[in-house]
Symmetry: C2
DNA sequence: CCGGTTTGTAAGCACCTGCTTACAACGCTA
DNA sequence: TAGCGTTGTAAGCAGGTGCTTACAAACCGG
């Protein structure tokens, strides 16, 4: 709820931005399916017809939201810090002005629309590609997928299902437990049997 | 030739079972939200009004489906094999007569209804409790949650988003890569800093 | 055969969904 | 100031949702 409903009288750019912000929040909180265009318009303080005028459809808006900030963190974080940085972002409560919440949206929108699928592929591919640079082992891609899977699983258990003690655990403790295990995964040769 | 639809003429028990089977399949395939009561009734070859007569509501049916077979694997698998067994179940394509698909449903129904939340808590709690017996370290519960998170994350990336190379990887390879990392997670003392 | 109960069916209700349309209010500019 | 494109609004549409109701057909004990 941006409290400037009266302040913005005739400003298409601001309305578009408000719709995008509201959509980003709601998609991250509820996923694609359980977010309605009426909810988005209401939170943005705009008429829902404008959503369709500016973005065409709900799916198209979803795509714009994902494209806008989905990969920002990825581009500004060195690979060797990506795992820990992403993990901490996922673990900390969403602050204003924090990186965009693409992984959360990824989680909450599993099994949703076609737009969701395309987004899944893109976001997952990008993260895994960077993570794969962290190991010289032959199965680099697969190992990277497993790291990504862990990130997503932690986000799932923590922010979606709220399972304790994980949900309330100190991010430092989680990082301390996980780091050596990830190191094992990335560095150890696969051994037969 | 009498068609199979007439074969079950007046048999409430069989109709209930058919509805349960259909619901279990569809919830696992699409999650709670994207499964409609009309779909369930259609796959079961039954009238949708019967679904409400026998189960009261869609949410209630969901609860019955989860309660029916959700924890079967948990009760018949020794703790030290639980991780690998569950992982392999998650990795293999669903066969007929295979264990119930509670974790898949868990995944696909994230962020769904209240019934989904209750189920999430129950299933997650049971798995984590058993997994926690695998370590003597102080943070046993937290470590168990992290193992569970990895399981769910792998299921998510593999069966929901279909990301390659994980989606098509040999289960043996995945197990070989993951086992030492899980061992590290469970056995290693948390070290400060 | 009769009456009541159980099982199955078709139709519909009230609500929600994404999306569209018709129109009013505004502000630029000629 | 008159005209006109732009921005915002209210109302509604077509289809889908969970769920209910009214009723017919089958079964069973008497």
């Amino acid at each position: 709820m941006t409290g400037e409903q009266q302040a913005r009288k005739r400003d298409a750019a601001a309305t578009k931005a408000a719709l995008l912000d509201a959509a980003e929040e709601l998609f991250a909180e509820r996923g694609f399916d359980r977010t309605t265009v009426r909810d988005i318009a209401k939170r943005a303080g705009a008429n829902q017809a404008l959503l369709f005028r500016y973005f065409g459809s709900k799916e198209s808006l979803f795509g714009v939201v994902m494209a806008r900030g989905g990969l920002a963190q990825l581009e500004t974080t060195p690979p060797e810090q990506l795992f820990e940085t992403t993990l901490r972002t996922l673990l900390e409560p969403p602050r204003d002005g924090s990186p965009h919440r693409s992984l959360e949206t990824y989680l909450r929108s599993t099994g949703s629309s076609g737009a969701g699928t395309a987004m899944h592929e893109q976001v997952g591919e990008e993260y895994a590609r960077v993570l794969a640079t962290l190991t010289d082992q032959p199965d680099a891609q697969l190992r990277a997928d497993l790291v990504l899977a862990w990130l997503l699983g932690i986000g799932l258990v923590r922010s979606v299902t709220g399972k304790e003690p994980l949900a309330s655990a100190d991010p430092d403790d989680i990082v301390r437990l996980i780091r050596p295990a990830v190191q094992t995964l990335l560095e150890r040769n696969g051994q037969p049997g």
